[in-house]
Subunit: 349 residues, 2 copies
DNA sequence: TTGTATGCGTTATCAT
DNA sequence: ATGATAACGCATACAA
């Protein structure tokens, strides 16, 4: 079943059939209709390989993420996939894990499959060492590379990110002004975005005139229980803190568990803020105040930018959107001017 | 940069180069080495389209799931993708949503991309009406179709599922024998797997000599708050229940929230069991007893079966694995013989 | 508006 | 063991 069968049955040449397939205007309505009829009658579908051979594209985007079971990444992938398809592109998903060598292999594989672009989801793709990011820059020589929540200044690389620094900075300051004089920052990776958040936290302490002692930023595993245990351990060592800002919701939930274990009242004895506004925030008890980094917007923007790149329109190499505090029950009510906080809204699903 | 360039530089014919690429034995070691050297030197990669044209396969599997941000589905996708790649296959992921028409389109699209097989993840793919599943049966005429947590008896369709019926049946009986005489079942879809769970629940009531009044199985939205509100509403109407068995962890968390709202003690006043052993189970407070349906095993088995199908070995049309109760703090300790319960283990991430 | 002929980069079938 | 050559199914430049 190929284009010849159709052309034969329709009594036209394959060129005409091809024109119909590709929506070429140079076909009479009558002929077009005849061909279309035959195509549906035969249940004909163009062979993608033959097509790809000629056009050297399969209208396919490669998406790389560390782990599609991470709620944030999963959400991003979901929206990316959806929107790409809306624009006529299919997606090739790769869950690469966190190891560099594996990632390099996946990238090579995607390129060998002749994808039309590559989207890297998650700030964890940015290695601290420049050299380790070279493979990304190399890929950008062949196809456009899109980064979600990561930044790399390089031709043909386009970045869309949430302003994590500002979000943490603003809200840490608010926290302190509410009387929480000993906030603790909890993070679990040294990714670009984590480091941004950390800076935001440290700068906020400085801006409020607090000493930013090293211990007020603690690193731990990406896990509820590890976070809880770490806090318990700190507490038993006599370390004092009255608020926890988690770089991820998981860590913040750990803080809530910690408070529960010690019988601390939330938010009176301990305030907690998470990050991502994931389902964990509403699952937690009490429900978690969390920063929404607008996954959907990030994804939509990325796709929109990519389409601009494809059409040759000029596209910004870097787009930043702001995070937004979604207040729930682990922080006291506060009001202020300079950043549009928002009352409890629907959580990202 | 193509096979001709390589053949020229290596001083052999393209046929020989092709043989080297495909590991054909009819090449002298000397020639093979020479060709390999040239290939790496030139950084040559075979063109997948041309290759696909000849072989009519791209070693690619189409994976369909409703929503990659659902923890269970995300996990399955993750493991599928990983294991397929281990077997030399790439994956095409489609998040189809829950609507039939969209799903039919996605399936058509995958077939038009000439995938080598299709994997449907999640029992939600099985419609109650036979007619609505016809498109799946049709697809099976072209390529093998794998179902995870769904069952359809049809040639070239292979199903791998968790024995949801038995898991719910067994554990509901245990619950009742512990003294919970008024268990309530909460579910949120009429998918194959949901209905299996429901039957298990109903049969358990009957087996324990309890009247299975309609109201003891309630349907509600797939959402923590909706579940909580429904329970509150039932309570205010004077409806009595002392245990909740959720068909999904989300619903069980809703039950925990309900208990919190009313000041009920868990598990004394209310026992709760969830399903999936997702991260929600450990996020909940108190932590949720939940049934682990072994996503990873399901995924591994599916891939293994598919590989058997590809090699022409005979493969079982249906494989069932058993669920397993992971006990935490929303049920009292109980011990018994006939089903291997397990103490709190690591949650699925 | 329609048809003819060629190229795309492989694999596979013959020969040699 | 190696080489020449015919598919594979489509897009497209060119001709009519």
């Amino acid at each position: 079943m190929n284009i010849y069968d159709v052309s034969k049955k329709a009594g036209v040449s394959i060129a005409t059939v091809s024109r119909v397939i590709n929506g070429n205007a140079n076909v009479s309505d009558k002929t077009r209709q005849k061909v279309l009829n035959v195509m549906t009658e035969l249940g004909y579908t163009p062979n993608v390989f033959a097509r790809g051979l000629g056009l050297n594209t399969m209208k396919t985007i490669g998406i790389m993420c560390a782990d599609s079971s991470d709620p944030f990444l999963a959400n991003a992938v979901y929206h990316l996939e959806r929107n790409l398809r809306k624009n006529g592109y299919d997606s090739f998903l790769c869950c690469t894990g966190y190891e560099l060598a594996a990632r390099q292999n996946y990238l090579k594989l995607l390129l060998s499959k002749r994808v039309d672009a590559i989207i890297l989801v998650g700030s964890n793709y940015l290695e601290p060492s420049k050299k380790d990011n070279q493979y990304i820059a190399d890929a950008a020589k062949e196809v456009p590379v899109m980064l979600i929540n990561g930044y790399l200044s390089h031709p043909n690389i386009y970045c869309t990110l949430c302003d994590d620094y500002q979000a943490v900075y603003d809200n840490t300051r608010k926290l302190i002004r509410q009387g929480y004089q000993r906030p603790l920052f909890l993070y679990c990776s040294r990714s670009y975005s984590s480091l941004q958040k950390l800076s935001g936290f440290q700068d906020a302490l400085a801006a409020e005139g607090l000493s930013a002692a090293e211990e007020y930023a603690q690193m731990c595993g990406n896990d509820i229980m590890q976070a809880k245990d770490l806090l318990l351990c700190l507490h038993s060592r006599g370390f004092l803190f009255d608020a926890v800002f988690g770089a991820e919701d998981v860590l913040a939930v750990g803080a809530v568990k910690y408070a529960g274990a010690l019988g601390l009242r939330i938010p009176d004895d301990l305030a907690v803020i998470g990050y991502n506004n994931s389902i964990l925030a509403v699952c937690s008890e009490p429900e978690l105040t969390s920063i929404d980094n607008h996954v959907e917007t990030l994804s939509l923007t990325t796709v929109a930018t990519l389409m601009r790149v494809f059409t040759g329109s000029d596209a910004p190499n870097r787009t930043t959107i702001s995070g937004e505090l979604v207040r729930r029950r682990t922080t006291p009510a506060w009001s202020d001017g300079y950043s549009g906080g928002q009352q409890d809204t629907r959580v990202k699903v």
